[in-house]
């Protein structure tokens, strides 16, 4: 049963890892604006750099 020590160590490491990821995400401002990214992801990269392929 001493495997529990290993499991505990792993699970806490994973949990702390996610916790640090959360703190970093907040710090980088990911939670400051929770609307714009939801719209932004729907835009297509339809902008054609090459003018010859222009559709409209």
């Amino acid at each position: 049963m001493s495997v529990i020590y290993v499991l505990l160590a792993i699970s806490i490491t994973v949990a702390v890892g996610f916790f640090i990821a959360f703190i970093l995400a907040v710090k980088s401002g990911q939670f400051d604006d929770n609307y714009t990214p939801s719209v932004r992801m729907l835009f297509e990269d339809e902008l054609v750099k090459d003018k010859s392929k222009k559709k409209y």
């Binding site: 020590y5 806490i12 907040v26 400051d32 714009t36």
Partner: protein, 791 residues
């Protein structure tokens, strides 16, 4: 969208007859924007949303102050050798097309590295290469595509504002610890005496301890600080029993695991703090795109054009203006200081300052006050006072603006907390002394148990969740409150004071009556053609009112400043304007705005302008009159008095010619007599009154446009709903009282376990979340029921 709406902005495009690419446009500005977009492959802008644009405004010279590196430096967020970053506030941002076009700015100008929109705040963060493109170019580019940024004195030097994210961190810490502690304490809930579990017990317990340390010392620190502050000023606020409960929980649990007496209550402790922070987070609803703290700085420009002694134009910063400077005020620019008009025709709109919508014409040599907006070409002025000492800005040195309303009253939770805390301490001491005599080994146990179980988690949660939800509901109804305490204050008011112009009257609309000899069709046609050439606001309103006529090409046309206009067509002449100008000796002294007309030197009659009152005004007043004292404080003259007395209930007090300070003093006086005042106003002239009142509501035709500092912003279209909103806030208070009753029941159950000395960690672990969650559910359901009744 109708067939002939402008393809760019959606305005009616029939009259302009501008067609481009088979698409109608209302003006050349819109057409140009379309051209810019289509030549740059940005036509997708129009696919996302119909007619998303705004007509670009003429900004010639308006942003010259951005040439001044000192000003630019203050605005920039980041300034490196070749990259500059600035966050600009753009009021027009309103749809996904806006996001799309603003994030594709680099397609329009390759020297712009990137641009990121924050839709909620209506800002765009632009990073650009300043070797090749200046800030002024960026602003000009944005304006040319109809996204004019709003740069005011308020932005000055606050570019590096820090965002406070500590609540999210604390919530994260508490949530993380709560989840982990719950897992670790699970085996102990069932009290199985299994061999291996017994082996791991100490490890599990110390892990729980480790998780709880950051919760008590970091996540819960606000409660300790607030409790300490409360005790120091001799107030037993709600944070006192919370802090007491939390520290007893932590100390007793640590004690238990150190001496191997039991598992402790780490699960309850972390859960308690987590739920409390969650309530705080929920209540912290803010409308990022609105600002409730505006003072004159949000209206004032940053830079202004100074004319130097060598007759050169130079952009200087507003704070650098000194007495005796010569300034150039362009069309549509705000006058930032008190000054004397030297050159040019001044027509000043003082609506910011006085709330009066009429413009004032001034001759050279007249004094102009800060806060007026020049409407008629450029003028030159000599400065009399610096910005801080000007007439308008001095209002802000009044003490009311430094005073935080939220701190000055005891909220419902804290008022109950005093009795609650005393009762709990009493119970704790009585129970402890009882056990000291019967079984002294249990006494300490009982004492701590009472304090733990009585920790007023449910009480502390009822107000945040009720108010938080109410805030959201009212926000959806376009009634935006600054914070939760406004709801409580709103439920307490007994006097309602209204401003007149812009508040109970609609800003843009007026009704016009004609009195006098009837005008013939030819005369009316001539009148309309004459008015067409004038930019005076009265001419504009009159022009739109008159029937459609063929437009005549006038032979002569002359505008006499401050008097009226004169025109000639064939052998008819016409004079429109003030009474003496048209040749009427005595004006029958009406206080209302009038425009007189004479043709061929014969007096014809006059048009009288009346304010148009908002829809449902008298209905609203009749509903309010039984419960509240009603007052109207107007900065205008008494011209509308007879009209108002007819419309409004007889006991309504009407006061006219009230200066901004008078309004403030009036409210102060009534508050000293025990009135709780709700002030409803709109302009900067009401700012003092809004700050002085217990609740100040600013009415706004367009919530994105600026309103003065206030506690709440109400969309003008919802004006007639005020009564229902006040009623809803009273309902919210009632809900909180009910949920207090509910949480007392939980407390009594818990106290039974505690007093009898049989509080097991598992009981606490069940009772605490159960009470919290049921309170949250109760308040949410009830507020939603109230919310459904609102229109």
């Amino acid at each position: 969208m109708s067939k002939n709406a402008c393809f760019h902005c959606g305005l009616e495009a029939d009259a302009s007859k501008i067609m481009f690419d088979n698409k109608p446009f209302c003006c050349n500005g819109c057409k140009t924007v379309y051209e810019i977009f289509s030549t740059n492959d940005l036509g997708c802008y129009y696919d996302l949303q119909n007619a998303p644009g705004a007509t670009p405004k003429d900004i010639e010279g308006k942003y010259n102050f951005l040439d001044n590196p000192k000003i630019v430096d203050q605005l920039l967020e980041f300034n490196d050798e070749d990259t500059q970053i600035i966050t600009l506030y753009i009021p027009h941002i309103h749809c996904s097309s806006c996001i799309w076009i603003l994030e594709n700015l680099n397609k329009l100008n390759p020297d712009i590295n990137s641009s990121i929109v924050n839709f909620g705040k209506k800002t765009v963060r632009v990073s650009f290469n300043f070797e090749r493109v200046s800030l002024k170019d960026v602003v000009t580019l944005l304006s040319s595509i109809g996204y004019e940024p709003y740069i005011s004195l308020d932005d000055y030097s606050v570019g590096k504002k820090r965002v406070d994210r500590s609540l999210i961190y604390k919530l994260g810490v508490a949530g993380f610890a709560f989840g982990n502690v719950m897992f670790l304490s699970f085996p102990e809930y069932f009290q199985v005496g299994e061999f291996w579990l017994e082996q791991f017990k100490p490890l599990f317990r110390w892990l729980m301890f480790a998780f709880s340390v950051p919760v008590i010392f970091y996540a819960a620190q606000d409660y300790f600080i607030s409790a300490y502050k409360g005790l120091r000023s001799k107030i037993l606020n709600i944070d006192v029993p919370i802090a007491l409960g939390a520290s007893v929980l932590f100390i007793r649990s640590t004690w238990e695991i150190v001496f191997d007496l039991g598992t402790g209550f780490f699960d309850s402790l972390t859960g308690l703090i987590f739920f409390l922070l969650l309530g705080k987070f929920f209540q912290q609803k803010t409308y990022t795109f609105l600002s409730f703290e505006r003072d004159y700085k949000s209206y004032f420009p940053i830079g202004i054009t100074k004319i130097t002694s060598e007759d050169k134009e130079e952009s200087i910063q507003v704070y650098d203006i000194e007495k005796g400077d010569r300034l150039l005020i362009r069309n549509e620019e705000l006058i930032p200081v008190d000054c004397i008009l030297i050159k040019g025709k001044a027509r000043i709109d003082y609506s910011f300052v006085t709330g009066e919508s009429k413009t004032v014409s001034k001759q050279s040599g007249d004094k102009l006050f800060a806060g007026g907006k020049q409407l008629d070409g450029s003028i030159e002025v000599d400065v009399l006072n610096s910005v801080e000492q000007s007439y308008l800005t001095q209002l802000w040195s009044n003490d009311v603006f430094k005073h935080d309303k939220e701190l000055s009253f005891t909220n419902i939770t804290n008022s109950i907390s005093k009795r609650f805390t005393i009762t709990i301490l009493l119970i704790a001491f009585v129970a402890t002394s009882f056990w000291l005599f019967t079984d002294s080994s249990k006494a300490l146990n009982v004492f701590t148990s009472v304090l733990i179980i009585a920790c007023p988690c449910a009480i502390a949660l009822s107000a945040p969740f009720t108010f938080g939800n109410m805030l959201r509901i009212l926000g959806k109804k376009k009634f935006y409150l600054k914070n939760a305490s406004v709801i409580e204050q709103l439920a307490k008011i007994n006097t309602i004071i209204f401003d007149k112009t812009g508040t109970i009257t609609a800003n843009k609309e007026t009704t016009i009556d004609y009195e006098g000899l009837e005008l013939t069709t030819a005369e009316e046609s001539l009148l309309k053609s004459t008015l067409r050439g004038s930019n005076h606001p009265l001419s504009r309103s009159l022009y739109t009112l008159l029937n459609e006529h063929d437009i005549l090409t006038l032979d002569t046309y002359q505008e006499h400043l401050g008097k009226g206009i004169e025109a000639k067509y064939q052998d008819h002449n016409i004079k429109v304007g003030s009474a003496p100008f048209v040749g009427l000796a005595t004006d029958n002294a009406t206080l209302n705005t009038t425009v007189h007309v004479s043709t061929n030197n014969h007096y014809k009659g006059k048009f009288t302008f009346y304010n148009k009152y908002r829809k449902g005004l008298s209905k609203l007043f009749n509903k309010l009159k039984s419960e509240y004292d009603l007052v109207i404080l107007s900065g205008d003259n008494a011209g509308e008095k007879s009209n108002l007395t007819k419309l409004l209930p007889t006991k309504t007090k009407l006061l006219f010619n009230q200066k901004p300070e008078d309004k403030l003093e009036y409210i102060k006086y009534h508050q000293s007599e025990g009135a709780t005042v709700l002030m409803i106003g709109d302009g900067l002239n009401d700012a003092g009154a809004l700050a002085q009142s217990d609740v100040g509501i600013a009415i706004s035709e367009n919530v994105n446009v600026f309103s003065p500092a206030c506690d709440a912003i109400l969309d003008a279209s919802k004006f007639n709903q005020i009564y229902n909103y006040i009623k809803a806030s009273k309902g919210a208070i009632k809900i909180i009282k009910w949920s207090f009753a509910l949480s007392f029941i939980y407390n009594i159950i818990g106290l039974y376990f505690a007093v009898t000395g049989q509080l097991e960690p598992v009981v606490a672990a069940i009772l605490m979340p159960l009470s919290s969650i049921s309170i949250v559910a109760f308040t949410t359901i009830c507020t939603n029921i109230i919310g459904r009744k609102l229109k």
